[in-house]
């Protein structure tokens, strides 16, 4: 009956899939392979490309807005399901950041909303848990203050507690009120910074806490592979919603290299943040001095080394030329910094990044 049909359909699908795959393979190997090189395209200058990329004229703007607005009738239903204890998982093509934040700021005003930007490269899940615990603690405090209950003592600041303790706190029974929860919005729960299994395990554990509800979005077609059955059924407890928006992935795509831009430099914008975050705070500060100089003097060819050394000494970032040089070697190895001979003969340092990228980078490492 129905079952057989289902099985047949599935088989059909599978067959279709493998057929498609082999057809594609064949197409690729049939000698038709084009030998054209990327460099055959008359590529425009990278700066121009970036400028153009930031001014792309949006298509179907009216329809996209109408589409997003059409989801608003679902808001009450979403709130209802969150209150029932489900997590919401939004998928479909297009950036869902604006949609979810609109939902959060119009329909979830009664609850504290905490946002995690999963599309960023470096997210420290422990930090997230600490902040969540602090937010919950605040909420409980104000609540108990109004109902004149007595506060349980915090024995230890949250920042020095272990992950298990934090989770236990978030899952605690301090809040008797079922409707007292923090809503955690995770943009791109499948994002590059959250994609590893350990982080996903922690996210699942956080999602399972009694004081937490999750609203998340995914964009990657294979995102569900991140979760096993325990996570899906007992921890995240997803309700799926297909909400394509066709809005451009503006912020989400910020750290992706432009494919037509000449590889190395753009790549390094992304990697720079990663490299910098692995360095010591002092090294980061040295880099910041250099970056700020470059931003302040966009017309100059670079920062003279002596200049850098003086400033770093003044700020107690380095104690000697030797330490500064070791930092600089590290930067150069990762192509964060390049040396140029200035017209007056002295060596100058400069960072091979566009002003805009540099600003973003500074923001990234400031946290």
């Amino acid at each position: 009956m129905d079952i057989d049909n289902g099985v047949e359909e599935e088989e059909e699908e599978e067959f279709g899939f493998s057929r498609n795959y082999f057809l594609a393979k064949e197409l690729g190997g049939s000698g038709k392979k084009s030998a054209c090189k990327l460099s055959d395209i008359d590529l425009v200058d990278e700066q121009e490309l970036r400028a153009a990329a930031s001014n792309i004229e949006p298509k179907h703007e009216k329809e996209v807005v109408a589409l997003m607005n059409s989801y608003r009738i679902l808001y009450p239903k979403w709130v209802f399901e969150l209150r029932c204890g489900f997590g919401l998982l939004m998928y479909g093509f297009g950036s869902k950041k604006a949609l979810i934040e609109d939902f959060a700021s119009t329909a979830l005003t009664e609850y504290c909303v905490f946002v995690i930007n999963g599309y960023l490269q470096s997210i420290n899940i422990k930090q997230v848990a600490i902040s969540l615990a602090e937010v919950l603690w605040d909420q409980l405090k104000t609540k108990l203050a109004t109902t004149s209950g007595n506060l349980p003592k915090v024995q230890q600041p949250f920042s020095s507690r272990s992950m298990d303790d934090l989770l236990a706190f978030l899952n605690g029974s301090q809040a008797q009120d079922k409707d007292c929860f923090i809503c955690v919005v995770i943009h791109n729960i499948d994002g590059p910074g959250l994609r590893d299994s350990e982080t996903q395990q922690y996210l699942a554990q956080i999602a399972a806490c009694s004081c937490i509800r999750v609203v998340a979005s995914i964009d990657h077609v294979n995102a569900p592979l991140l979760w096993d059955k325990k996570m899906v059924h007992t921890q995240f407890n997803w309700c799926w919603y297909h909400v394509p928006t066709f809005a451009p992935y503006r912020v989400e795509g910020m750290f992706f290299p432009l494919i037509l831009a000449h590889g190395n430099t753009t790549q390094s914008a992304k990697t720079a943040a990663i490299v910098l975050q692995s360095l010591t705070p002092n090294a980061q500060s040295v880099f910041r001095v250099l970056a700020e100089y470059q931003l302040a003097h966009p017309d100059e060819e670079g920062m003279p080394i002596n200049n850098l050394y003086t400033i770093c000494r003044e700020r107690f970032l380095v104690s000697s030329q030797v330490t500064l040089n070791s930092h600089l070697t590290e930067f150069k190895d990762h192509e964060l910094v390049k040396t140029k001979r200035h017209s007056d003969g002295q060596d100058c340092l400069h960072i091979p990044l566009m002003t805009e990228a540099l600003e973003k980078l500074l923001m990234e490492i400031r946290q």
Partner: protein
Amino acid sequence: MALASAATDSPIQTTSETNDNNLQTFFVLHKASSRKSEKRSTGTGKTRRRIDLSPSSPKKTDKSEAERAEEWDERRYEHLRMEAFELVWSRIDLTIKDVLRGINTNVLNEIHSWVCESFNAIKSFGTLGFAEATRSFPIVAAATCKRLFTGLILTKNMEFVDDLLTFEELGLSLRSHGCHVANLSSMDFSAKNGIGGCLRGFLRQFLTTTLDAADISILASWYREQDNHDSPVVVIIDDMERCCGSVLSDFILMLSEWVLKIPIIILMGVSTTLDAPRNILPSNVLQRLCPSKFILGSPAERMDAVVEAVLVKQCSGFSVGHRAAVFLRNYFLNQDGTLTSFIRALKIACAQHFSMEPLSFILGDLLVEEKQKGEKICLLPEVILKHASQLPSYVRNQMADQTAKSLVHGFSELKRLQKCWSIVVLCLYEAGKCNKIRLLDLLCEALDPDLYISRASNNHVELDKDSGLGMASDRCKRRKYSTFQKGGIISQIVRKVRDLPAVMLYQLLKSWENITVDILEIHEKLKELQSVLRFEDGKLKQNVDDISKRHSSWSPLNIEKDSKAINEKAATLLDCLVRDYLRPMECIPLHEIVCFKNVEKLQLALIGDPRRRIQVDLLEFYKILQCSCCSKSGNVLLPSMHDTSVMYTLAQEHGDLINLHDWFQSFKTVVLQPSTKGKHKSKQSPLSKKRKHKYESENKSEASIQARFCRAVTELQITGLLRMPSRRRPDCVQRVAFGL
């Protein structure tokens, strides 16, 4: 949805300017508004806040009093529905837990007595003197004393999700018997955290303070300080096969050294076979184990028990329609196969029901006031009564008077019919048990309204007007009926009753007697049958007893004939019950209030299919955006189409590798092709002017086309449909998905 329409005044900002928050890894969007308490008391807080916030909007200030009142009502009823959901689900949840606990009771008791025995065995190795006990290192003892008593619990289930609850229960039950229990999972035995992490997690469960250095001697001193010396320490590992072998071995070796000081007993869940420990542990570790085996109930058993308690006996009054039941069954069989997922699907169905059906809150009232005979319903405002009387099932029945009284009657009738239905299903299930009929399959058939109609029409019973599908063609009915006759589960069961051996038939009638005890009319019929049987032959009882005890004096032929007649009668009774009482939910007036039917919504919420849906979004975007410019194009790519869609459609023509150069060129061709409608819909200037404009921006447009190409590639990369060029093939990207 007055609320939602009010919200549409300000469009969502799709083009949010780059603000600081976008680059923070996390931030607080807003705190909980403090008006919450106010809302609690009045129920209007939210609506009012909305109005306060935007006094400039003329629409909102124009709102008439009536509209406001309506909104207020809406909020209030939403709140009621929420409460009703909580009530109903908590009852279902409780029932499920009880049922599962019931299934495991025997095993849990068995395990507990084994734990006690093992503990006594450990104690018999000798007690420690004070000096020995307080030393912070293990005791040197003979190898036989270093063995760990290990219970291997066979879960009979590859999916360990279903057993999480069982192991939790096991922990609770042992704790209630005074044991010290630690529940560990394979997460604690990961290679990454090593034995240290594992030990820390283990100690955490007993000691309240967190330790920097994990050391088992701390546990030893903790155990010594306990008042409760006379109980073992039980370690439960729920999915042993997923543990990292080396960490688990170290853990076992360490515990076995300390077993005299801390009487530790291990319980491990095993989902494959008893060989499992041999596969992941080395022999020197295996020597330290002293295993015993326990077996849990099979998933199918549990499934049947849960379905029986929740959907057939309807512990909460909530029920599902035929199509929803079929979907749930197929989801269980085809998709996931775990009880956990089934329960989750049920919960989603329940939540959806209460969020979408405006009158569902009545179910909560029905539950609370089972004894008060619907007094509260009489108190419902006029509007609601009107609403209820407009439900299709109610209208069909043409209960013309819309008074509260007739509604109350309707509800009690609904309950009665539901009860009869569930009793017949249970009778059928009981009869089908020996035939290995799965309750879920039976349920699907028992809920089918078409079958009910065809049964009714075939027997020339007057067709009720409310049966819902009266307009279905006769042919369709006949076809359905014939399937019922031939292959249907119900008819199969009835036929089996005819062939049942006498002993089993006797037991069956006994169990029916128990099942039907609540509904007098059915119970009477059964009694009638039993008395007739007794009347016809004082032999039946004798028969049964005789067969089971000694050879009867009756000739076998005679017995056979008699019992055949009895079987026939029982089968007729069952048939009769099915015809008269097996009235599916969907054929009862007012069922909309308690019955969930919206399968499509359930399916969408339960099974996300990003792989397929995202590709369809891209390939058929005009269906979603509903723009006037692209929908009529057929298969031709137009420059007005969404860039990423154009790119993905073009990518379909390539093999598994896409040459970037070719791809770019074809994209460029599509984008630049002259279109009759005008390339950019925003420009409404005359054609000549546009052309001029085009020439001027020739250079600029090259850059913008390249930028658009880049962005589309990035977007495809974000969706995971593309892989970036590798070093080996710098000019090609790789396609990832083939076919939907």
